[in-house]
Symmetry: D3
Subunit: 64 residues, 6 copies
C-alpha cells in the first residue's frame, strides 16, 4: 500500500530507466518493510529544468 | 480551505470528466466536514503510463 | 490505481468523517472515470493551524 | 535542505518569473530559518486550467 | 489560487517563524505573478529528522 | 537533485528501517540515472491508519 513519488529533472530518462526506478522502489519497500508489491504505487514526475531550482537558481541557469 | 490532489494516469479524461472530479471532491468536503467551497482547491495530475507503476511494473508494460 | 491526497486543517475530524472522505473520494473516481476501487488510494493529511496559511496569514491568527 | 513545491496555473509564466520564484523562496528560507541555500530545492508545477478547481469549478470554466 | 508546500525538518520553528514563511511565500506570488493573496494557500510540513534523508543518510545520523 | 517522497502507514517502522529506505532510494537514483547522492533528498511520511484508505475503506477498518 505504500505510495512513492520520485521527482527528477526532465533529461531524457528512457522508458527502461523509469521502469527500473519503479521496480527498484517497489522492491525496496518489500525488502525493508515487507510491504505488498501488488498495491505499492510509484509515480515519477519529470520536471522542466526551468521549473527546478537549487541554490536559489534554476537548473537551466546553473547549466549555462 | 482544503486542498485535494488527484493523480490519475493520462488516459484521455475529458474536460467534462475533470470538471466532475473537481465538483465532486469539493462537494464531498462540504458535505462531510462543512468546509467552505469558495476556498477549496482541487488539482488533478495526469501521469504518463510510463511514469506510473504498480506491482513493480509500469502501467505501460502491464497493458502490453 | 488513482491516488488522492486530501489536506485539511487539524480540527478534530472523527474517524467516521475520515472514513466518509475516503469512501466518497473512491466512489467519485469509480463513478466519473470507472477506476478500480481496489487499487484507489486516499491519504488524508491533517495540518496544524499554525502550519496552514491563507491570505498571507496562518489559520491560527485568522481565528484569533 | 528544505523542499518547496509551488503549484500555479499554466498561464505563461516566463523563465525569468520562474527564476524569481525560485530565488525568492530560497531567500525566504535562509532569512526566516537560516537554512542552507545550497541544498534548498524548489519545484514549480504549472497546471492546466482544466485541471485546477476552486469553488467547485475548473479555472477554465470560471474564466468563460 | 497558488498552492505552496514547504517541507522542513522539525527543529523547533516557532509560530512566528511559520507565520513569516506563510507571509513571505504569499507576498512572493503576489509580487512575481500578481496572484491573488486571498486564495493563496501555504502548507508547512515539519518532518522528523529520522524521516528526512540527504546524501543517503538520515538527518538524525548526519548530526551525530 | 532528485526528490523522493515515500508514504507508508504508521506501523512502527524503526529508525534503522527508515534509514534503510533513505539509503536504498538514494542508491537507486545513483544507479539508474547517475544522480548525485549529495543533493538527493528523501522524505518519509508515516500516515495514521485512520487517514489511509484503499478500496474505499480506511486501513483501520480493514484490519478489524
Amino acid at each position: 500500500m505504500p505510495f512513492v513519488n520520485i521527482k527528477i529533472t526532465k533529461d531524457g530518462a528512457t522508458a527502461e530507466q523509469k521502469a527500473a526506478l519503479i521496480k527498484g522502489a517497489t522492491d525496496l519497500l518489500v525488502k525493508v518493510l515487507n510491504k505488498n508489491p501488488a498495491t505499492t504505487v510509484v509515480v515519477i514526475d519529470e520536471i522542466d529544468t526551468d521549473n527546478w531550482g537549487i541554490g536559489g537558481e534554476t537548473v537551466s541557469n546553473r547549466r549555462k
